[in-house]
């Protein structure tokens, strides 16, 4: 495993964090991640992350559930073992709606949660590192990766001018979970900058 070098700055106010994220991206540094104690709306798009497709996955699981329920019940009650309930039709769709609905919800929820855990690589006994333990308490931690070209002192000073407190250079071993998302970050373009004023 190789060791990577990060510049890590902590912010204590999200109002300072937002412009800092923008400036860091504009300057050309590649943000590794921003760790926050609670969801901050708009930070993902400011960081240039694309929107999640988890919803779509949820929809696909949902229709899988619907199809499973309808397919199985109609097979069981009309083909495999048709039962005569008081002379009612074998294919009695209205009576199947409740179970169909429940399985739709069940498949969608379970599928989405599992997908969520897979995408975020969350599971019991998983250990990860998020640079500063206070990032789950009250600090917003921004980390960006250093390349050979990065001038450390310059980068640290730059982050300090943006309002970061306690900026330091940190080393981390690359592990399976490190640097998974940086491919997603799009290059900062002029258009979004205009829209954001």
């Amino acid at each position: 495993m190789s060791v990577k070098k990060f510049i890590v700055g902590s912010f204590d106010d999200e109002a300072v964090l937002f412009p800092a994220v923008k400036k860091v991206r504009k300057t050309g540094y590649k943000i590794h991640d921003v760790y926050t104690p609670f969801p901050i709306h708009g930070l993902d798009s400011t960081m240039g992350l694309r929107d999640t497709s988890l919803h779509t996955a949820g929809f696909i699981y949902a229709i899988t559930g619907t199809a499973t329920a309808l397919g199985f019940i109609s097979w069981a009650l009309t083909y495999d073992w048709p039962l005569n309930f008081g002379g009612k039709p074998f294919f009695s769709l209205p009576a199947w709606i409740p179970i169909t609905f429940e399985l739709t919800v069940l498949f969608s929820s379970v599928g989405m949660v599992l997908t969520f855990c897979y995408l975020c690589q969350l599971a019991p006994f998983v250990k990860k590192d998020h640079f500063n333990l206070r990032s789950t308490d009250d600090l917003f931690i921004m980390a960006f990766e250093c390349t050979e070209k990065t001038n450390e002192t310059e980068a640290v000073a730059f982050l300090q001018t943006l309002g970061a407190k306690n900026v330091k250079v940190d080393y981390r071993e690359t592990q399976w979970w490190l640097g998974r998302y940086d491919k997603e970050i799009k290059v900062f373009d002029k258009k979004t900058e205009v829209a954001a004023v």
């Binding site: 104690p37 609670f38 949902a62 069981a76 073992w81 929820s109 006994f125 308490d137 998302y181």
Partner: protein, 484 residues
């Protein structure tokens, strides 16, 4: 950079006191990190004792059969199914608070949703016990599942409301659990990162699933919560609708009515909120969380109680009117003789139900009453009793005298093992709740932090200055900006 979170001064702050993010963490983690108090131990031991008595009662029933309960051919559903419907009704408030109020963007849900969701899960666990042990030959309980078997395979009857119930309740339990736990993960991560002792590091390390708070993870987490809320909203309505179908699709007088689904759902929300009040009025006091679960929260829930209580009242009156107007003499008899008539064997139960559910909550039209903690607690107990009697009235007074007078039951009263089973579920419920309140934060940490700068006391008082600004100036300075 206008990262403004403006909210009108008219709205009462939901986080009281001078708080910052760290202070919130401290306040909410304190009860979890402190040693359990004497009161906690006493409560926990009593709960476990109830649970053990419940286990003994169930053992008696399994060993000697359902005959240990006073059920008979006429009253085939007694306390067991009453308790089942009662618990499942209570289990509706949590998901209502966390899902429906999330979709409606109600900020106040953040103070109470975590505890209410936990309550939901425990209540559904208790509810599930009753139909399972009621089966008698409980070792054959898996027969309710459609699995390939050697009897054909003979499939379960997918057209039966009782089977719908199996699917509805197991789905509801699973989805509530996932919703609750996925919301809990970031808060457990906070506890993990604060942990000093070795076992805490280990326990919260395992249960936090390796959460880091990465922006991408939060983005997915938000998407997940929103979609789960969207799925849970119709789910919560469907579950009690299906429970009501257990009754409504039969031809028993007093059950065979189309009003049941909305009437049951309203009753479920009503009783669920009452149980949330019972728990939170005590929890906020014992864990000193008064600044997070404020009087405003209590008041808003009391408003929900008076609304749903009145809906339930209208439902009672409607079915009473229709039983008279509909001129079906069996239906009329069920209502006029078995219920309304105070001198009939169970007339008293009907009037307890009316008094507790319809009349007593009307007191909450008065603001002073809504904001009184003692009264809220007392009322919540009263409503829980009333809602138990509602289910008892629906079930027992319908079946004990139906079409065939020769099959009429003599007075049905439960045996000690029937009562013991019910007490046992109380034990299960409170044992789980005590453990939850000890090991997990009862208030959603991250969500409170999320709304702090909008509804926090200190932040709100500063917003008054914004209101005197001219509109153009306000817009100029604080244009809502979500970044790129």
């Amino acid at each position: 950079m206008g990262l403004i979170r403006y909210e009108s001064q008219v709205r009462v702050p939901l986080v009281e006191g001078d708080k910052n993010y760290h202070q919130i963490t401290e306040d909410i983690c304190r009860p979890v990190e402190a040693r359990p108090s004497r009161a906690w131990w006493i409560g926990f031991i009593i709960s476990v004792a109830f649970l053990l008595f419940g286990i003994v009662s169930v053992t008696m029933e399994v060993t000697y059969g359902v005959g240990q309960w006073n059920l008979n051919k006429t009253v085939g559903w007694g306390w067991d199914i009453t308790n089942f419907v009662w618990w499942i009704g209570i289990g509706h408030a949590g998901t209502l608070i966390s899902a429906i109020l999330l979709l409606f963007r109600q900020g106040w849900r953040t103070g109470v949703n975590r505890a209410a969701e936990a309550m939901t899960i425990f209540a559904v666990m208790c509810a599930g016990q009753f139909p399972i042990w009621h089966m008698g030959r409980v070792w054959d309980a898996f027969f309710v599942l459609p699995y390939p078997n050697t009897r054909g395979p003979l499939w379960v009857n997918f057209n039966s409301p009782l089977l719908w119930d199996v699917f509805a309740i197991s789905t509801y339990f699973t989805v509530s659990l996932l919703f609750w736990y996925s919301g809990l993960i970031p808060d457990v991560a906070t506890l993990r990162d604060r942990a000093k002792k070795k076992w805490r590091k280990l326990f919260y390390g395992i249960t936090a699933f390796g959460w880091t708070g990465s922006t991408k993870h939060w983005q997915r987490h938000e998407a997940l919560s929103l979609v789960l809320a969207g799925l849970s909203t119709p789910l919560v309505l469907s579950v009690h609708t299906i429970v009501s179908f257990d009754f409504a699709t039969s031809v028993v007088p007093g059950w065979h009515t189309t009003i049941f689904p909305p009437y049951f759902v309203a009753g479920a929300i009503f009783s669920g909120f009452a149980m949330v009040q019972t728990l939170l009025v005590v929890t906020r006091k014992v864990l000193s969380l008064e600044q997070y679960i404020t009087i405003e929260h209590i008041q808003v829930m009391n408003k929900v109680i008076v609304l749903t209580g009145s809906i339930v009242g209208i439902a009672y009156l409607t079915e009473l009117f229709i039983s008279w107007y509909g001129a079906n003499k069996y239906e009329g008899f069920a209502f006029m003789q078995n219920r309304l008539n105070l001198s009939s064997p169970y007339g008293w139960a009907y009037w307890i139900m009316m008094g507790c559910n319809v009349l007593s909550p009307q007191i909450f039209w008065i603001k002073k009453m809504r904001t009184s903690l003692t009264l809220t607690f007392f009322m919540s107990i009263l409503i829980n009793i009333g809602m138990w009697f509602e289910r008892f009235v629906i079930i027992v007074t319908s079946v004990y005298r139906d079409y065939l007078p020769s099959a009429w039951s003599t007075y049905y009263r439960p045996t000690i093992w029937e009562v013991g089973f019910y007490m046992g579920t109380f034990g299960l419920f409170f044992t789980c709740y005590f453990l939850f309140a000890k090991f997990f934060p009862v208030v959603a940490l991250a969500e409170i932090k999320h709304i702090l700068k909008r509804t926090g006391d200190v932040y709100k008082s500063k917003m008054g200055e914004l209101e005197v600004q001219p509109a153009e100036e306000f817009a100029e300075v604080h244009s809502h900006d979500h970044g790129a």
